[in-house]
C-alpha cells in the first residue's frame, strides 16, 4: 500500500518471479530515465502494474505507445530545432512541400496504420468471454458504494456482499455491471480496463487474475457528491483460499458471542439499522444499503474509505454525514459512547 522507493520498486521488480512484466527490453530501457515514474507504476491501483492477463496486454500496448510516442516527439522537436537554428544551407531540405508531404502525410499514415492494426488486434483479445464457465459476479453501482452479488456457481449458492470483491487466481471472471441510479464506471486498473455502469444497460467485463494480492478499484465516472470516495477492495487468492472465503460468506451471520455483543445486536435492530441493511440470520433484512452479514471480514468500510475496526466503525455510525457527506446513510449521533461501542464491536464481530 505504501509508496515504494525507487530502489524498493526495482528490487521487488527483480525479485518477484510471478510479476508480469509486459515491457519489451527497450521499453524498460526507456523507462530508466524516468525512474520516479517507474517506481510510481507499482501500486494497488495502477494500470502499469498488471496482475491479470487483460491488464497485461493493455500495459504492453501502453509501453509500445509511450516508446513510439517519445521517439516521434523527440524527432519532431529535433526538426523544429533544425528549422530554427541550423544554418540555412543545412535546413533547406526541410523547407519544401515535399518535406510536408513526407513528414506530415506519409509518415503518420504509415505509422498510424501499423499502430491501428496492432491496437485493434489487441482489442479483440481483450474483455473476451474466453472459457465457457467463468465465475460470474454482478456488481451494481449505487451512490456511493458497490452492491456485489456472487451468482450461483455450480454447487455454490449465490450470496450478496458489498464493497469488496474476491476472485480466484487463474479462473476467468465475468463481472456483470449495472447501475441502480446514475452512471458509474467500474475500474480495477491492475486487472482490466474500465467499463461503465449505465441505468437500463447491463455491461460486462472479463479478466483472469494471475497474481495473488490485494488491489483497489474505484468509480471513474463522476456520479455526484462522493464520487471521490467510491472505492472497493479486490482480493485475488489461490483457488482453495477463495473457496474457503466463499463458503464463509455464504453462511449466516455469527450469533453474538458475549452479552456486550448481544447488546450491540439488539441496539442495531432497535435503532432501525435493519430497515436498510441485511444481516442474514437476524431480523435485519433491509436492502437499501450494503449487506452487513460479514462486514467484519472486510478490509475497509464506507466503500473503501476507512480501514475496518471497531473504532472506525463507531466513528462512521455516529458521523456518516461528516465523514462522507451526501452518502445515503444519516449520522446516528444519538447513541451514547457505550452504546456506540457495542454496536461497533458487534459489527466488527461479523467476520
Amino acid at each position: 500500500m505504501e509508496h515504494r522507493s525507487t530502489l524498493d520498486g526495482l528490487t521487488t521488480f527483480l525479485a518477484h518471479p510471478r510479476r508480469i512484466d509486459p515491457r519489451p527490453a527497450w521499453g524498460r530501457l526507456l523507462a530508466l530515465p524516468l525512474l520516479t515514474t517507474l517506481s510510481g507504476c507499482q501500486g494497488v491501483q495502477s494500470a502499469l502494474d498488471p496482475a491479470a492477463d487483460d491488464a497485461g496486454r493493455l500495459a504492453l500496448l501502453s509501453w509500445v505507445l509511450f516508446g513510439g510516442g517519445t521517439a516521434i516527439f523527440v524527432l519532431v522537436m529535433a526538426l523544429v530545432l533544425v528549422a530554427v537554428y541550423a544554418p540555412p544551407e543545412r535546413r533547406r531540405w526541410l523547407g519544401s512541400s515535399r518535406a510536408i508531404v513526407i513528414g506530415g502525410f506519409v509518415f503518420p499514415t504509415v505509422t498510424l496504420t501499423a499502430l491501428l492494426i496492432f491496437g485493434l488486434s489487441m482489442m479483440r483479445a481483450n474483455n473476451a468471454s474466453g472459457e465457457a464457465d467463468p465465475l460470474r459476479i454482478e456488481v451494481i453501482g449505487e451512490q456511493y458504494w458497490w452492491r456485489v452479488t456472487y451468482l450461483e456457481d455450480g454447487a455454490d449458492p449465490a450470496f450478496v456482499t458489498a464493497n469488496e470483491i474476491h476472485v480466484p487466481v487463474g479462473r476467468r471472471v465475468q463481472i456483470l455491471l449495472k447501475s441502480a441510479d446514475v452512471i458509474h464506471s467500474f475500474w480495477i486498473p491492475n486487472f482490466a480496463g474500465k467499463v461503465d455502469m449505465i441505468p437500463g444497460h447491463t455491461n460486462s467485463l472479463h479478466f483472469t487474475a494471475q497474481r495473488e494480492g490485494v488491489y483497489r478499484g474505484q468509480c471513474t465516472e463522476f456520479c455526484g457528491d462522493q464520487h471521490a470516495l467510491m472505492v472497493f477492495d479486490v482480493v485475488a487468492s489461490e483457488p482453495a483460499a477463495f473457496a474457503g472465503w466463499r463458503t464463509r460468506q455464504t453462511r449466516d451471520a455469527a450469533a453474538p458471542a458475549t452479552p456486550f455483543l448481544a447488546r450491540g445486536q439488539e441496539l442495531f435492530i432497535r435503532s432501525g439499522c435493519g430497515n436498510c441493511h441485511t444481516v442474514r440470520g437476524t431480523r435485519a433484512e433491509g436492502v437499501l444499503g450494503p449487506d452487513l452479514t460479514h462486514v467484519g471480514s472486510r478490509r475497509s468500510i464506507g466503500a473503501g474509505v476507512f480501514p475496518n475496526n471497531a473504532g472506525t466503525l463507531g466513528g462512521w455510525i455516529a458521523n456518516t454525514q461528516h465523514l462522507k457527506g451526501g452518502a445515503r446513510m444519516p449520522s446516528y449521533g444519538s447513541f451514547t459512547g457505550e452504546e456506540l461501542r457495542a454496536v461497533a464491536e458487534y459489527m466488527e464481530s461479523l467476520k
Binding site: 491501483q45 540555412p88 535546413r91 518535406a99 485493434l120 446514475v182 444497460h201 471513474t220
Partner: protein, 852 residues
C-alpha cells in the same frame, strides 16, 4: 514567370483611382465612421470596438476560470486536505470546464475574428454589425450572470458534460443544472450568430481580387470553424432542450425506466463535443499560419496542403464522437471504426505541423515573444497530439479514460492548441490596436513561466492517471503514490498563474487603444491587416493580387492611404463596405452599414439574457415580459434594414459602378438566412436521430402497447395545409414581382400564415386525441418533442409572415425592395418541408416497421 510579372506591373500601374483625392473627403469618411464619445461608446457596433470588448471579456473569463482551477489545485496539493468540501469542489470543476469551453475558448476565437477578419480582408466592417453586437452583449450579460451562480452555491455541479441521469431532476433537483442548460444553451445561440457573421464575412466581404486561392489561411480556418459551429452546435442545443424538457415537464428522453436512454445524451453531446475541440483548435492553427510566415519572413510553405488539412479536419471531426464513449459498452465493431477515424484525424494536424516547420526552415525565425509562443505551442500541442493518438486506441483508453491521464491530455491539447496560439496572436496583433506594442522582455518572462508551468502542471498528471487517479475527485487517499505528482502539479499551476498575472499587468501598462497612431507593422508582415487601419478600415480598399500583398506590391500602403484604390469616399453619405462574389471576389454591390450609437441590439441582448436567466429561477411572468421586449426590439432593429435602392448606383473606381442594394442569392442577407436554415435543419435532424435512437432501444414498444396511431387522414390533411401555405407564398412572390403593387400580396401571405398555423394545430390535435401523453414513454416524449420544435419554427415563420405583411402595408416592400420577402419565403419553404418530414417520420415510420 516574367510575363506574369509584366502583367502584374501593368495592372499595378492601372490604379482604380489614380490622381489626387478631393480635399475634405477623408475627413468626411472619418466623421461618418466616428465612434460615439464617452459612455455612449457602449452603443458602438463597429467590429473593431465590439472585437476589443469581446476579446477583453473572453480574457476576463479565462482569468476567472483559471482562479477556479487554482482553488482546485490547492485542494489537491496534498491528500485528504479539507480546504474546500465536495459540494464546492464539484461546482468548481464543472464551472472551470464550462467557463473555459463556452465562455472563454469559443468566444475568444470568435472575438479575435470579429476584430481581425475585416482588416485582414480589407472590408470596412462585418456584414451584420448589429447582429455582432447582439451576439457579444448576449454573451456578456448571460456569461457574467452565469458565472455569478458560483457565489451563491447555485453553479452547476455535475461536470461540464452534464451526463443524465445525474443531471436529471431526480438526482439534481436544485436549479444548478438548469443554469447550465438554459445559460449555456442560450450562449450557444450567440456562438451561432457569430458563426453566421463569419461565414458571410469570409465569403462575401473581401478585398476585390482576393479570390479563394489568395484568401489568408486565417480566413480559411475561420470559415471551417464557422461551418463546424453551424453543424455541431445544433446537437448540443437540441440535447439541452430535451434535458430541460425532461427536467421541467417530466418527458422521459433519458430515463431508462420509461424507455429513455442516458446514452442518447452522450451521442448528442459528443457529436457536438468532439468538433468543439477542433472549433477551438482550427482558428488557433489559422493564427499560427499567419504568425509563422511573418516571423520567418517568408510565405507559408504548402498553402494548398494546409487548406486541405483544414477542410479534412472539419470533415473528420464529425466522425469521432464515439471515442468519448469507448467505455460505455458499445460493440467492438463500431469501436474499431471510430478508433480508425480518431487516428486518421492526426494526419491533417501532422500536415500543418510540418508546414510550419517547413516555413520556419525556409525563412529565418526571429525569436520574438509571438515566435516563442508558437514554438511553445509546437512543443505542447505535439505532445498532446501524441497522447491523443494513444487515447484514440480504444484498448488504451479503457485504462486511461476518465483518469488524470485524460486531464493531462486535454490540457495539453487545449492549452497547446489554443491558449498558446492565442497568446502568440495577442502579442502579434496587439500593435494594430494599441499605441504601444507589449514589452518584449516581459513577454519572454510571461512565456517562460507559462511554458514551464504548463509542463510542470500537466506532465505529472499523465502518470497520476495511469497509476489510478480518477478525474473529478475532490480528494484522494494517501499512500497510493499520487501525492508527489499532485504536489508538483499544484506548484506548476501557480507558475502558470504567475505568467498570466504578469501578462495582465503588462497589458494594463501598455494598452492604449488607438487607431491613428498605433504601433503599426512592427513585424514587417505581409497581409492586409498591417495596412494603416482606422475606424473605417483602410482609406481605400486595395485590389489584391497575391497572398502577401504588402510584400508583393511595394507601393500598396501609400496607394491605399492616398485613396488610389476602391471606394475612397462614402458614396451614400453613410457607412458602407463592398460585397464581393464568394469565389473570385468580384465587387457586387455596396452594403450600407448602420451607424452608431445603436442601442436596439444591445437592449435586446440584455432582455434575451434576462428572459433565459429569469426562466431558470422560475420568474415566469417577468421572464415572459423580457422575452416580448427582446423580440420587439429585434423587430424594431429589423425595421431599419432592407433599405432598397435608396441611392443611385455609384462608382467605386477603376470604371466599376455598383448598386447600393441587392436581392436574391447575391444579397448577404439571403446567405445568412440560408445558413440559419442549415442550423435549424441540423437541430431537426438531431431530433429525428433521437427518435430513431430511442426506437432502437424500444424496438418492441414503438409505439408502446395501448397507444394507437392517429388515422393517416390527419397527417395528409396537415401535410396538405403545410404545402398549401408554401404554394400561397410562391404565388405572393409572383404577384410581388409583377408590375404595379398587387394588393393581393399581403392577403396571400396572411392566408399562408393561417394555413401553416392550422396545419400545426391539426398535427397536435391528432396526437392528443389518441391519448398519447409525453410523460408516459420515450415514444410519447419524442413525438411531442418533434411537434414542439416544429411548433417553435412554425411560430417564427408566422411572425415573419406578419412582419412581411406590415412591410408591404407601410410601403417598404415592392418588386425591387424585396429582400425581406425573399428571406421570409426561404424560411417558409423550409418550415413546410420540415413539417412534412416530421409527419412522414411520426406517421410513416411506425407503419414501416409494422407496429401499427
Amino acid at each position: 514567370m516574367s510575363a506574369a510579372l509584366d502583367r502584374m506591373e501593368a495592372e499595378d500601374s492601372a490604379l482604380p483611382n489614380p490622381g489626387s483625392r478631393p480635399a475634405g473627403e477623408e475627413d468626411r469618411l472619418r466623421e461618418i465612421w466616428k465612434a460615439p464619445k464617452g459612455w455612449r461608446i457602449l452603443g458602438a457596433i463597429n467590429n473593431t470596438y465590439i472585437g476589443v470588448f469581446y476579446i477583453g471579456t473572453a480574457l476576463l473569463f479565462f482569468v476567472l476560470a483559471g482562479i477556479l482551477a487554482l482553488i482546485m489545485r490547492t485542494q489537491l496539493a496534498q491528500p485528504e486536505l479539507d480546504l474546500v468540501g465536495h459540494g464546492l469542489y464539484n461546482q468548481l470543476f464543472t464551472m472551470h470546464g464550462t467557463v473555459m469551453m463556452f465562455l472563454f475558448a469559443v468566444p475568444a476565437v470568435e472575438a479575435v475574428s470579429v476584430y481581425l477578419l475585416p482588416n485582414m480582408q480589407a472590408a470596412r466592417d462585418l456584414p451584420f454589425p448589429r447582429l455582432g453586437a447582439y451576439a457579444f452583449w448576449a454573451y456578456f450579460f448571460g456569461g457574467l450572470t452565469f458565472f455569478c451562480t458560483i457565489f451563491v452555491g447555485l453553479a452547476p455541479n455535475t461536470g461540464w458534460f452534464m451526463y443524465p441521469p445525474l443531471s436529471s431532476s431526480q438526482y439534481s433537483p436544485a436549479e444548478n443544472a438548469d443554469f447550465w442548460l438554459l445559460g449555456i444553451g442560450f450562449i450557444e445561440i450567440s456562438a451561432i450568430a457569430g458563426a453566421i457573421e463569419i461565414i458571410v464575412g469570409v465569403l462575401k466581404t473581401r478585398a476585390p481580387g482576393m479570390s479563394l486561392d489568395k484568401l489568408p489561411i486565417y480566413s480559411w480556418a475561420m470559415l471551417c470553424l464557422a461551418v463546424m459551429i453551424i453543424i455541431a452546435f445544433p446537437a448540443v442545443i437540441l440535447a439541452t432542450t430535451l434535458l430541460e424538457m425532461e427536467r421541467a415537464f417530466n418527458w422521459p428522453f433519458f430515463i431508462a425506466e420509461r424507455g429513455g436512454d442516458p446514452l442518447l445524451w452522450q451521442h448528442l453531446f459528443w457529436f457536438f463535443g468532439h468538433p468543439e475541440v477542433y472549433i477551438i483548435f482550427l482558428p488557433a492553427a489559422g493564427m499560427v499560419s499567419m504568425i509563422v510566415p511573418a516571423m520567418a519572413g517568408t510565405p507559408l510553405v504548402g498553402y494548398r496542403l494546409v487548406v486541405l488539412a483544414l477542410i479534412a479536419t472539419t470533415v473528420l471531426s464529425f466522425g469521432l464522437w464515439v471515442h468519448h464513449m469507448y467505455t460505455t459498452g458499445i460493440p467492438k465493431l463500431s469501436t474499431g471504426f471510430f478508433a480508425a477515424a480518431s487516428t486518421a484525424v492526426a494526419v491533417p494536424s501532422g500536415i500543418q505541423v510540418f508546414a510550419w516547420i517547413a516555413t520556419i526552415a525556409s525563412g529565418r525565425m526571429k525569436l520574438t515573444t509571438p515566435a516563442l509562443f508558437v514554438l511553445g505551442f509546437l512543443f505542447i500541442f505535439t505532445l498532446g497530439g501524441l497522447t491523443g493518438v494513444m487515447v484514440a486506441m480504444a484498448p488504451f483508453d479503457w485504462q486511461a479514460h476518465d483518469t488524470y491521464f485524460i486531464v493531462a491530455h486535454l490540457h495539453y491539447v487545449l492549452i497547446g492548441g489554443m491558449v498558446f496560439p492565442l497568446f502568440a496572436a495577442i502579442y502579434y496583433w496587439f500593435p494594430t490596436a494599441s499605441k504601444h506594442a507589449l514589452s518584449e522582455p516581459v513577454g519572454k518572462w510571461v512565456f517562460g513561466l507559462m511554458f514551464v508551468g504548463v509542463n510542470v502542471t500537466f506532465f505529472p498528471q499523465h502518470v497520476a492517471g495511469l497509476i489510478g487517479m480518477p478525474r473529478r475527485v475532490y480528494t484522494y487517499h494517501a499512500g497510493l503514490g499520487w501525492d508527489v505528482y499532485n504536489l508538483v502539479s499544484t506548484i506548476g499551476s501557480y507558475m502558470i498563474a504567475a505568467g498570466v498575472g504578469l501578462f495582465v499587468i503588462d497589458v494594463a501598462r501598455r494598452f492604449r487603444f488607438s487607431f491613428d497612431d498605433n504601433a503599426g507593422d512592427v513585424w514587417k508582415a505581409g497581409t492586409l491587416e498591417w495596412l494603416n487601419n482606422t475606424s473605417y478600415g483602410t482609406r481605400s480598399i486595395p485590389h489584391v493580387r497575391s497572398r502577401e500583398p504588402l510584400w508583393d506590391q511595394p507601393n500598396l500602403g501609400e496607394d491605399v492611404d492616398k485613396g488610389r484604390y476602391y471606394l475612397p469616399a462614402s458614396v451614400t453619405g453613410g457607412r458602407e463596405t463592398i460585397v464581393t462574389s464568394p469565389i473570385e471576389a468580384r465587387p457586387q454591390y455596396i452594403l450600407q452599414v448602420p451607424g452608431e450609437p445603436c442601442w436596439p441590439p444591445i437592449l435586446s441582448a440584455f432582455f434575451t439574457a434576462a428572459f433565459f436567466m429569469l426562466l431558470t429561477v422560475k420568474f415566469v411572468m417577468l421572464s415572459a415580459i423580457c422575452g416580448v421586449l427582446a423580440i420587439g426590439l429585434i423587430l424594431y432593429w429589423m425595421w431599419a434594414t432592407d433599405p432598397g435602392q435608396n441611392h443611385p448606383p455609384a462608382q467605386i473606381g477603376g470604371g466599376i459602378t455598383l448598386p447600393v442594394y441587392a436581392t436574391g442569392s447575391v444579397s448577404h442577407s439571403w446567405w445568412a438566412v440560408s445558413i440559419l436554415l442549415v442550423v435549424i435543419g441540423m437541430i431537426f435532424t438531431c431530433l429525428l436521430f433521437s427518435y430513431f435512437f430511442l426506437w432502437l432501444v424500444n424496438t418492441t414498444a414503438w409505439p408502446p402497447q395501448g397507444v394507437t396511431l392517429p388515422s393517416t387522414i390527419w397527417s395528409l390533411a396537415a401535410g396538405g395545409l403545410y404545402v398549401g401555405s408554401s404554394a400561397l407564398i410562391a404565388l405572393a412572390s409572383r404577384r410581388l414581382a409583377g408590375a404595379g403593387r398587387a394588393p393581393s400580396v399581403p392577403w396571400l401571405i396572411g392566408l399562408a400564415v393561417v394555413l401553416l398555423a392550422a396545419g400545426w394545430v391539426l398535427d397536435l390535435t391528432a396526437q392528443w386525441r389518441t391519448g398519447l401523453g409525453p410523460e408516459d414513454s420515450a415514444y410519447g416524449a419524442t413525438v411531442y418533442a418533434i411537434l414542439s420544435i416544429h411548433g417553435v419554427v412554425a411560430a417564427t415563420a408566422v411572425l415573419m409572415g406578419l412582419y412581411t405583411m406590415a412591410r408591404w402595408w407601410s410601403g417598404r416592400l415592392d418588386a425591387v425592395r424585396r429582400s425581406t420577402f425573399d428571406n421570409t419565403m426561404l424560411f417558409w419553404y423550409y418550415t413546410s418541408g420540415q413539417g412534412v418530414a416530421g409527419l412522414v417520420v411520426v406517421y410513416g415510420f411506425p407503419h414501416l416497421i409494422g407496429a401499427a
